[in-house]
C-alpha cells in the first residue's frame, strides 16, 4: 500500500498518511509548484515506496501559503526534505535526484 502524495496546489500542507506514529516522519518544504518541487515530490515518493514501505508519513508544506513555517523550521533552500523522526533531525536539500545522497541523508545507507 503506497500512500498517495497530495498536490500542494490542491491541498497544501496536508498529512498524506492517514495513520499516526510512523517510524519515518518526513516533511518536504516547497515553494509553489515548480519543476524542482514536482521532481522532488516524485523522487521522494519513489524512494519511500522502495525503501520505507509502510513505515513513513510525508507532509508537504508549501511555503507560499505558510511562509511563517520557513522561519520556524529554518528553511532557506527549497526543496528541503526534513526527517523529523527518527531523531536526530536530518535535512536534505535539492530536488532529490541524487538517490545516493538522499539515502545517506536519511541514514538508510552508510556514509562512505
Amino acid at each position: 500500500m503506497t500512500p498517495p502524495i497530495k498536490r500542494p496546489s490542491r491541498s497544501p500542507g496536508v498529512v498524506s498518511n492517514m495513520s499516526d506514529h510512523k517510524e519515518y516522519e518526513l516533511r518536504l518544504y516547497i515553494a509553489g509548484t515548480t519543476p524542482k518541487s514536482v521532481l522532488a515530490m516524485k523522487n521522494l515518493q519513489r524512494y519511500c515506496d522502495e525503501y520505507l514501505e509502510g513505515r513513513y508519513s510525508i507532509e508537504i508544506i508549501d511555503l507560499l501559503t505558510k511562509p511563517q513555517l520557513a522561519l520556524g523550521d529554518q528553511i532557506l533552500a527549497v526543496p528541503t526534505l526534513v526527517r523529523r523522526m527518527p531523531v536526530p533531525i536530518r535535512r536534505i536539500i535539492g530536488d532529490l535526484s541524487n538517490e545516493e545522497r538522499v539515502l545517506i541523508g536519511l541514514d538508510l545507507r552508510e556514509r562512505p
Binding site: 518544504y29 515553494a31 524542482k36 521532481l39 522532488a40 523522487n43 511555503l63 507560499l64 511562509p67 511563517q68 520557513a70 522561519l71 529554518q74 528553511i75 532557506l76 533552500a77 527549497v78 526543496p79 528541503t80 533531525i89 536530518r90 535535512r91 536534505i92 536539500i93 535539492g94 530536488d95 532529490l96 535526484s97 541524487n98 538517490e99 545522497r101 538522499v102 545517506i104 541523508g105
Partner: protein
C-alpha cells in the same frame, strides 16, 4: 521608493538618513534609499552595531520599521549586546517596529541531493518584511551562507537575485561582510552590491586602537572619501567627519569677556563668540588661570562650559583656581561646568576628538577649554595633528563654541611644533612669557594675533595673586622695560624724584611771590609819594594863581591911587 516624481534635480539620489552621527554628513544625506549597502570589515570592527543602529534610528527617528536577519547571533544575544547602548530591542519588537530573524546555517546537518534554490530565504525575508511593514533591512553576515551550501554557482546566482529582489521591494538594506585578504569581502559580496560600499577598520597603532570608516564607493552621490575615525560608546556610533568640507561657518560679532578686564581691553573688547584662542607659554606662566577666568565668567553669565583636562584632575583644578579667587567648584555643582579629565594617552588622537564631539553634542557648551592641547598632540605625527585640530576647530566653530586651548612651550624653544600648527587655526593667540630679571621671575602677556579686532600691541605684566589676575602696564623708562619689583622700584624712584622736583619748584614759586609782594609794596609807597607830590604841585599852582589875581588888583588900585590918566 523612487516612484515619487522627482521635483529635485535628477542627480539628487534619494537617501535614507542613518541617524548615525557623522555618517550622514560623510554620505551627504545617508544611504541610498531603497538600495542595498555593503558594510565590510574585520571581526569586531562594529559592523553589526552599525547595522543595528541604522535600524533603531530608522524606528526612533524616521518611523520606519526594520528587519534584522541575523546569520550569526541569536536575537537574545543581539538584544543584550545593544542594551549597553540604551536600545531596548524587546520594546521595539513588542511594538512591531523591529523583527529579528535568526537564520541558522549549519553545514553539517545538510545533505545536498540535486538542484535547489534559496526561495525559502526569500519567502522568509518577504514574510518578515510584510509582517511589520519594514522599510529597512539588515542581513548580518550573509557570508555565512557560503559555509552552508556546497553549490557555489547556485548560491551566487541566488545572491544576485536576492539583491535585485531587495531593490525591487524598495528596501534600504545593509549587508555586512567579513573583510577578505585581497578583496573587500571574503566572498566578494561587493560584486553584487554596487551602489554603496562602506569599509570599517580597526587598527592598533602604538598600543592605541582606532576604528575608522571609509566610504569606498557611492554610486551617483558625492561622498567624503577619507578614512574617518569613529567611536563606539554608550551612545552608539559616532563618526568624526570634517564637519564642513568648506569654510562657511556663520560668524558672530558678539563678544564675550575673558573675565580679565584689562585683557578684554587689549583684545579690543573681548573675544568673539565662537572664536578660538590659543594661550601659549612655558610651564607655570598662568595659562590654566586664564582658562579658569574664562570659564568662570562664562558660567556666571549662565553659559555652559566644558573643561577638558589632560594633566590635572578636576579637583586639582578647582583647588588651584580657588587660590586665586576663582570658584569653579560652584559652577561644577550647578551643572554649568562639566569637566572631562582623561589621560591623553588613554585613547588615540582621533578617539579624543570623537569623544569630545560626543560630549559637545550632548552637553552643548558655549565655552570649551582644552588644557593643554600639547600633551594630546605630543607624540603623534604633525600631519595627523593638523588634520585632527582642523576638524576639531571646524566642529567647535560650526557649533559657535568659543574655545580656549592652552599650549605648553618648552623652555629654550621659542615656538613649539604644536603652536606652529595650532596658531594657524586659532583666531586669537595670547602668549604668556616669563622674564627673569633682577633675581625674580615675572610674567608678561601679549596678543600675538587676534583676527578681526583692533588689539593692543602692548606688552602687559601679568600678575597672579590671591586677588586674582591683574594686568598692569610695564614700566618703560630710560632703563628699558621693567617688570616686577624692578618696575615697582623704578616707579618709586620716579615718584621720589618727582616729589623732590615738586618741592624745589614750590620753593621757587614762593620766593617769586615774595619778591612780587615786595615790589608791590614798593610800588604802593611810590604811588603814595607821587600822589603827595601831585598835591603839592596843585597847591603851589593855586597859590600862584591867587597871587597873580591879587597882584593885578593891586596894580589897578595903585593906578587909581596915582590918578594917572
Amino acid at each position: 521608493m523612487q516612484t515619487k516624481p522627482s521635483r529635485q534635480v535628477l542627480s539628487n539620489l534619494p537617501k535614507a538618513p542613518t541617524g548615525i552621527d557623522g555618517l550622514d554628513e560623510i554620505t551627504n544625506g545617508g544611504l541610498p534609499l531603497g538600495r542595498p549597502t555593503l558594510v565590510a570589515g574585520n571581526a569586531g570592527c562594529g559592523k553589526t552595531l552599525l547595522a543595528m543602529e541604522f535600524l533603531v534610528k530608522g524606528i526612533t527617528e524616521h518611523d520606519e520599521p526594520g528587519v534584522f536577519i541575523s546569520f550569526e547571533e541569536s536575537p537574545a544575544d543581539l538584544a543584550q549586546n545593544v542594551a549597553s547602548l540604551g536600545y531596548d530591542l524587546n520594546k521595539f519588537i513588542k511594538n512591531k517596529q523591529l523583527l529579528i530573524d535568526q537564520v541558522a546555517v549549519e553545514r553539517s546537518e545538510i545533505e545536498e541531493a540535486g538542484s535547489y534554490d534559496l526561495e525559502g530565504l526569500f519567502i522568509r525575508l518577504g514574510h518578515s518584511i510584510d509582517s511589520i511593514g519594514a522599510k529597512r533591512i539588515v542581513l548580518d553576515t550573509m557570508e555565512t551562507l557560503f559555509s552552508g551550501f556546497n553549490n557555489q554557482a547556485t548560491l551566487r546566482a541566488e545572491l544576485r537575485r536576492l539583491f535585485q529582489w531587495l531593490k525591487q521591494r524598495g528596501m534600504t538594506a545593509i549587508i555586512t561582510g567579513e573583510r577578505g585578504d585581497t578583496s573587500l569581502t571574503r566572498q566578494g559580496l561587493e560584486e553584487y552590491v554596487s551602489d554603496c560600499v562602506i569599509l570599517l577598520d580597526h587598527r592598533v597603532e602604538e598600543q592605541i586602537s582606532t576604528r575608522r570608516l571609509r566610504v569606498v564607493k557611492y554610486r551617483g552621490s558625492v561622498h567624503g572619501t577619507n578614512e574617518y575615525p569613529f567611536l563606539i560608546d554608550e551612545d552608539g556610533i559616532t563618526v568624526m567627519p570634517v564637519t564642513s568640507l568648506n569654510l562657511n561657518h556663520s560668524v558672530s560679532s558678539q563678544r564675550i569677556s575673558t573675565g580679565i578686564d584689562q585683557l578684554d581691553v587689549m583684545l579690543g573688547g573681548g573675544l568673539y563668540k565662537g572664536s578660538s584662542v590659543l594661550v601659549s607659554g612655558a610651564a607655570g606662566t598662568g595659562k590654566t588661570n586664564i582658562a579658569g577666568y574664562l570659564v568662570d565668567t562664562a558660567c556666571r553669565a549662565g553659559s555652559k562650559s566644558l573643561y577638558v583636562a589632560f594633566e590635572e584632575s578636576p579637583e586639582q583644578i578647582i583647588r588651584n583656581l580657588s587660590s586665586i579667587g576663582v570658584n569653579l567648584g560652584a559652577h561644577a555643582k550647578s551643572g554649568r561646568l562639566q569637566f572631562r579629565a582623561v589621560r591623553s594617552a588613554s585613547e588615540g588622537l582621533e578617539m579624543h576628538l570623537a569623544s569630545l564631539y560626543n560630549v559637545v553634542k550632548q552637553f552643548q557648551p558655549e565655552v570649551v577649554v582644552i588644557d593643554p592641547i600639547t600633551t594630546l598632540v605630543g607624540s603623534s605625527n604633525p600631519r595627523d595633528v593638523q588634520n585632527m585640530l582642523s576638524r576639531m576647530m571646524d566642529m567647535l566653530k560650526s557649533e559657535r563654541i568659543t574655545c580656549l586651548l592652552t599650549s605648553l612651550t618648552r623652555p629654550g624653544k621659542s615656538l613649539g611644533q604644536t603652536e606652529n600648527i595650532v596658531s594657524s587655526f586659532a583666531d586669537t593667540w595670547l602668549q604668556v612669557r616669563g622674564t627673569e630679571f633682577n633675581g625674580e621671575r615675572n610674567r608678561l602677556i601679549y596678543v600675538l594675533k587676534s583676527r578681526g579686532t583692533a588689539h593692543s600691541n602692548q606688552v602687559r605684566e601679568f600678575i597672579i595673586s590671591e586677588r586674582g589676575i591683574q594686568l598692569v602696564n610695564v614700566y618703560l623708562g630710560a632703563e628699558g622695560m621693567l617688570t616686577g619689583s624692578a618696575r615697582v622700584a623704578a616707579e618709586a624712584h620716579q615718584k621720589s624724584s618727582e616729589l623732590l622736583r615738586q618741592t624745589k619748584l614750590d620753593g621757587r614759586r614762593q620766593q617769586l611771590l615774595q619778591e612780587q609782594l615786595a615790589l608791590k609794596t614798593q610800588l604802593q609807597t611810590l604811588t603814595t609819594e607821587l600822589e603827595l607830590q601831585e598835591q603839592a604841585i596843585r597847591l603851589h599852582d593855586s597859590i600862584e594863581k591867587e597871587r597873580a589875581k591879587y597882584d593885578a588888583a593891586d596894580k589897578a588900585a595903585i593906578k587909581v591911587a596915582r590918578g594917572s590918566k
